[in-house]
């Protein structure tokens, strides 16, 4: 995996010239968004995937442990649309239940990165001077390690086995990715805060005697967070792909956790004879990554007034 923020640039829509009423930035962005096909498509996909992750039972009546070895590697049929895997488990059920672990890792990592990087970046950008130097150099050190290689090293040092509780396995992967991923958000937050810091309204707050914390929470953060949120949203797609890659390599999530990466890893040995084992989890994974990237892209276009 490369850098989790793809510098993806999507066409800006022509501004709707007919509207004359005054709108706030948020309303304006929303007005733009709901007219964008990419937003509608990715938004629908997003809702579907999140629903699947929260209540997988709605989509399948089987549970991922309902397996029968006699059905091992049977291809798609009218009884099981996606076929069965090498353990005779229904691939469709596994694909549905795999959404939860993958999306959880992606979202939790994004939240973790947002917290660490957001706080570090705001502090560095707002206070400047030596604070900035220390935080930025620290970020450089973590930034020097490519995400996948770094996570590999952490996870190889802390292996799990079948007895490790599911949540522990998931949080290990989340921690490994968050510890290495935060400098990217830190840099974006910092540059965003630097732009806001010298704005008139911040100076006015300062002149009125507002303290550092109040200025940061009331004035700086709300005005500088938009680009950060966008990058974090696009990042979720990258983190989901990174989790799947780590699980595929054998250091990420471990069975009995059900995830797309693990399903693909199992499919690897049978890919020539039973391609359905690879095809369905891989499609779900790619579609999910695509949804998050497209969603972030669409939001960025709507929030970035320069593109209008």
């Amino acid at each position: 995996m490369a850098d989790p923020t793809p510098p993806v640039i999507v066409e800006a829509e022509a501004p709707a010239a007919t509207e004359t009423t005054v709108r706030t930035l948020g309303r304006d962005a929303w007005h733009d968004l709901i007219r964008k096909p990419t937003f509608i498509v990715s938004g629908v996909l997003f809702v579907i995937f999140v629903t699947i992750a929260i209540v997988p039972g709605l989509f399948t009546s089987l549970s991922p442990t309902d397996c029968s070895l006699s059905l091992s590697r049977q291809g798609p049929s009218s009884a099981a649309w996606f076929g069965y895997d090498n353990n005779g488990c229904d691939v469709y059920t596994h694909t549905i239940y795999g959404a939860r672990a993958s999306i959880m890792v992606g979202v939790l990592t994004a939240v973790g990165v947002l917290l660490i990087g957001g706080i570090a970046g705001t502090v560095a950008g707002f206070y400047g001077r030596s604070t900035d130097t220390v935080v930025s150099r620290l970020g450089d050190i973590f930034f020097g390690i490519p995400l996948l290689l770094g996570a590999l090293i952490v996870l190889v040092s802390f292996p799990g086995n079948a007895e490790t509780p599911e949540l522990v396995t998931i949080s290990k992967v989340v921690l490994a990715l968050a510890v290495l991923g935060w400098p990217q958000i830190m840099r974006i937050t910092r540059s965003s805060v630097l732009q806001v810091r010298s704005a008139d309204y911040v100076q006015a707050a300062r002149a009125l005697g507002a303290g550092g914390t109040r200025m940061i929470l009331k004035h700086v953060v709300p005005n500088s967070i938009a680009p950060v949120i966008v990058v974090a949203t696009i990042g979720i797609g990258g983190y989901i792909a990174a989790e799947a890659t780590l699980s595929f390599l054998g250091v990420g999530l471990q069975p009995p956790v059900v995830s797309w990466g693990l399903a693909i890893s199992r499919a690897q040995d049978y890919v020539r004879t039973s391609p359905h084992m690879l095809l369905f989890p891989a499609s779900a994974l790619s579609l999910c990554v695509l949804a998050f990237i497209m969603l972030g892209d669409a939001i960025r276009d709507a929030l970035d007034p320069k593109l209008r």
């Binding site: 490369a2 290689l149 040092s157 802390f158 292996p159 595929f248 690879l278």
Partner: protein, 306 residues
């Protein structure tokens, strides 16, 4: 230029020290038994624990142990594998293959990526533009290991156009390189397209058109050259991603490079081998980034005078 190089080198030293320290600390100094995962599913034999404790000075306080470890790294001693073979010798043997693979991947991503980006950018909103935008989005969302497996089955097994696994020839590296470079290819294409679209609106391009230069020269020389500078930066920063992807791709196509060594090390639970190989890749990534920064200064004269 000389001052810039010195400055850049000076900035790199603390980062290299910090990064290697971080890796060392992550592997050996985090709470928990560092030997829990080093010898497969069994507990480690006592003589192996003793050997590693001596080799990595685990009885010393962390900073001292780290300094001794760095001293060994600088003299080219990367420790031994579980079976006692020298890791440095194995790395030296495998390194050229990984280098070939990544260079080939960079070649693929730059040549095809720039071509696609230019074709899309010169007719903005046209059919080619939309095709490039959609196809790059699709490629970006398919993880490298999925693409690798699909390519292996389709072009290797079904169609038989390429060897299924590496046979040592350069030709057998072509398919893996395309897979490895595909993600970056998509980014390069989008980057070139966006820059080209922006630069085509600048004053100097208007001047070039106004004085009657042929379209090819306006796009090929005036616009493209300026649009390529961010691509150089991207390729440098993305090199780390390529190295990470090399672990997956070399594992899938069984290419005997450093990535394959890491891939096998993970499966055999050989932590020491994995960390040594990853450390080397991280160092290579840093050196490449330094070179890219220097190249950037050559390409863009404005950087030198900052």
């Amino acid at each position: 230029m000389g001052r810039y190089v010195v400055q850049r080198l000076g900035q790199m030293v603390p980062v290299v020290i910090g990064t290697t320290f971080l890796i060392y600390a992550l592997v050996w100094a985090l709470p928990g038994d560092p030997f829990a995962a080093r010898c497969g599913d069994r507990p480690c034999p006592q003589n192996y624990v003793d050997r590693m404790t001596a080799e990595y000075n685990l009885d010393d306080p962390l900073p001292i142990a780290y300094l001794q470890y760095m001293g060994k790294l600088l003299t080219g001693d990367f420790g031994q594998t579980f079976s006692g073979a020298s890791i440095a010798a194995e790395l030296a043997q495998r390194y050229p293959i990984t280098l070939q693979l990544t260079l080939l991947a960079i070649l693929v991503e730059v040549v095809i990526g720039v071509a696609a980006g230019v074709l899309a950018g010169i007719r903005r909103g046209g059919f080619v533009d939309n095709l490039v935008l959609v196809s790059t989005l699709v490629v970006v969302s398919i993880p490298v290991f999925v693409l690798g497996l699909l390519a292996q089955v389709t072009f290797g097994v079904r169609l038989g156009w390429f060897p299924v696994t590496s046979d040592g020839s350069l030709y057998s590296l072509v398919l893996p390189a395309v897979v490895l470079g595909s993600l970056s290819l998509a980014f390069v294409a989008r980057l070139v397209r966006a820059n080209l679209v922006e630069n085509l609106r600048t004053d100097y391009v208007r001047t070039a058109i106004a004085k009657g230069l042929p379209r090819q020269r306006v796009i090929g020389v005036h616009t493209l050259r300026n649009s390529l500078i961010p691509v150089v930066t991207f390729v440098g920063a993305d090199f780390g991603g390529l190295l990470g992807g090399a672990v997956v791709v070399e594992g899938i196509f069984n290419i005997p490079g450093v990535g394959n060594m890491i891939f096998r090390g993970i499966n055999a639970h050989e932590g020491a081998t994995v960390t040594a190989a990853v450390t080397v890749l991280v160092l290579v990534f840093m050196i490449v980034n330094l070179l890219v920064d220097l190249l950037y200064a050559v390409l863009d004269p404005r950087i030198r005078h900052v």
